[in-house]
């Protein structure tokens, strides 16, 4: 369970990215956050693993309070929360396997990390994570030699190698073409189903959000303006969330036809 209690984030400079957000996300749910850019989607995601500190309120993940966690507690908390990114955030110069092993760092001692000597059990976990996203044959390839879709699957494998309870995805398909976007979203859906992991993801396109979100949360100027199922989120709702009429840019399929 992830719980937001009147959570607020004000960035230095005065921008209020989140205003008094209260939410409960039960275990094993696939939640899609939608909203215009600047609405606070990335901030909301990063508040869950403490990459962005709150300026007010509380965020609790499982039994752990993110807000009051010290450095060591924060690392422990983050080790249970996998994260994937819009730009994949892989170390491009090194192998796929080394990238996935980064997901095992919390369980690995510092000296082993420094020497690159991950225990065999961790390497096995990393290989299994690669198998789950069907890219295990690329384990020893340099990350820079993979396509965008493949790189994002390595990103997912790295998150899975943490054996997390929660998976955060910040615009996971924004850098991918439509067919690859569906592959990655289906991967996330399958992982959620098979492993019972809670998935919280930001999406830009309303058709993707409706197709993959069990629950859709609409953000507008840092506030929750919609919280419901994909079926409830019709075009009226999206117009409300976006505060303007919809355009072809808001729909992936429409944009792909351009």
């Amino acid at each position: 369970m992830i719980r937001f209690e009147n959570a607020s984030v004000t960035y230095p400079g005065g921008v209020e990215a989140l205003k008094n957000v209260s939410l409960e996300i039960p275990d094993g749910q696939m939640v899609v956050i939608v909203g215009l850019s600047g609405a606070g989607k990335s901030t909301l995601i990063r508040a869950i693993n403490g990459l962005v500190p709150l300026s007010g309120g509380r965020v609790v993940v499982g039994e752990r309070d993110v807000t009051s966690a010290d450095k060591a507690e924060l690392r422990a908390l983050r080790s249970e929360i996998g994260m994937i990114f819009q730009g994949f955030n892989l170390v491009k110069r090194t192998s796929v396997l080394n990238n996935v092993l980064m997901g095992r760092m919390y369980q690995t001692s510092t000296w082993r990390t420094l020497l690159g000597l991950y225990p065999a059990a961790d390497r096995e976990i990393a290989m299994q994570a690669l198998e789950r996203v069907e890219i295990v044959e690329k384990a020893y390839v340099r990350a820079s030699n993979l396509s965008g879709g493949q790189q994002q699957r390595v990103g997912i494998a790295r998150a899975l190698a943490q054996q997390p309870n929660v998976l955060l995805a910040d615009e996971p398909v924004a850098s991918l073409d439509p067919p690859t976007s569906h592959v990655v979203m289906r991967d996330l859906q399958r992982i959620k189903r098979e492993l019972g992991i809670t998935v919280v993801t930001n999406l830009h396109f309303l058709d993707l959000a409706r197709e993959y979100g069990e629950r859709i949360i609409g953000l507008r100027a840092g506030e929750v303006v919609f919280d419901g199922t994909g079926d409830q989120a019709d075009e009226h709702v999206f117009r409300d969330i976006y505060g303007r009429s919809l355009t072809a840019d808001d729909v992936m399929e429409a944009r792909a036809e351009l």
């Binding site: 693993n49 924060l74 908390l77 080790s79 929360i81 996998g82 080394n98 980064m102 510092t110």
Partner: protein
């Protein structure tokens, strides 16, 4: 037409006059002495190839000095370089201290280090190695810290999100990104060390430079010529190899 241009020209003229008068530079003297160069140039153009055998030992010493100084200097610079970047420093105090130490080390020329160490440890390669180590730390740490400043922040965020410690983050997300550059900088200072050893040897810090100094004191310009040609060829070869390796790295 503004007045700044003529004023600047006048300023430079006055400055030059002030410098000229101060060191009593006289054109007549230069013309008079240029004839002395005749004998020296003659000897330089007629290298005493027989001295080649005697230069073998000092040359080997120069290479050994450069190897040791590069390995030790670059290893220390690896730590200092990471501490001197905001991306990888544990806190602002460490960052500030490392940055200042780095600029102090770089502000002192290598010959001056050599002079000090020759005084402390007496004449020989030991003093030269220490001088080169400091020189290498200054150069490599500076270049490395600037490279670290410019790494892709994405993998760092990913390491943080996975619960990494600072050391783990630096090792897995930063180090692989800067490794090729670091190796290139290390090769580069090795090259510089071979060249620098000719100069620091003049003050007694060992290697080929010290042998050069002996020949100079004996006015053996034909021997000096051999040494200069040797240094030229050797630096050229090292540079060619190092450029080839560096191109494949980055």
């Amino acid at each position: 037409m503004s007045w700044q241009g003529p004023a600047a020209v006048l300023g430079f003229l006055v400055l030059t006059w002030w410098a000229w008068v101060g060191i009593e530079l006289s054109i007549g003297e230069i013309v008079q002495n240029i004839s002395n160069a005749g004998r020296i140039i003659e000897e330089l153009l007629d290298p005493a190839w027989g001295a080649l055998n005697n230069t073998y030992g000092p040359f080997l010493e120069t290479i050994r000095m450069a190897v040791i100084a590069s390995v030790i200097g670059c290893s220390v610079a690896l730590v200092v370089g990471f501490l001197a970047s905001r991306v990888s420093a544990p806190d602002v105090v460490t960052f500030g201290v490392s940055k200042s130490v780095m600029s102090v080390i770089r502000s002192i020329p290598d010959v001056l280090y050599a002079l000090v160490f020759v005084t402390v440890f007496s004449i020989g390669p030991m003093a030269g190695i220490l001088a080169l180590i400091l020189f290498n730390i200054g150069v490599v740490a500076k270049l490395l810290s600037e490279t670290v400043d410019g790494v892709d922040p994405g993998p760092i965020e990913a390491a943080d999100a996975a619960g990494a410690t600072l050391m783990q983050r630096v090792r897995t997300a930063v180090f692989p990104q800067v490794l090729p550059n670091y190796l290139a900088y290390s090769l580069y200072v090795f090259e510089l060390n071979i060249r620098a050893s000719a100069v620091i040897g003049l003050v007694g810090a060992g290697g080929i430079g010290q042998f050069l100094n002996v020949a100079r004191n004996a006015f053996r310009y034909d021997v000096i010529s051999v040494i200069v040609i040797e240094i030229f060829v050797f630096v050229f070869v090292i540079e060619t190899i190092s450029i080839a390796i560096r191109r494949r790295l980055v």
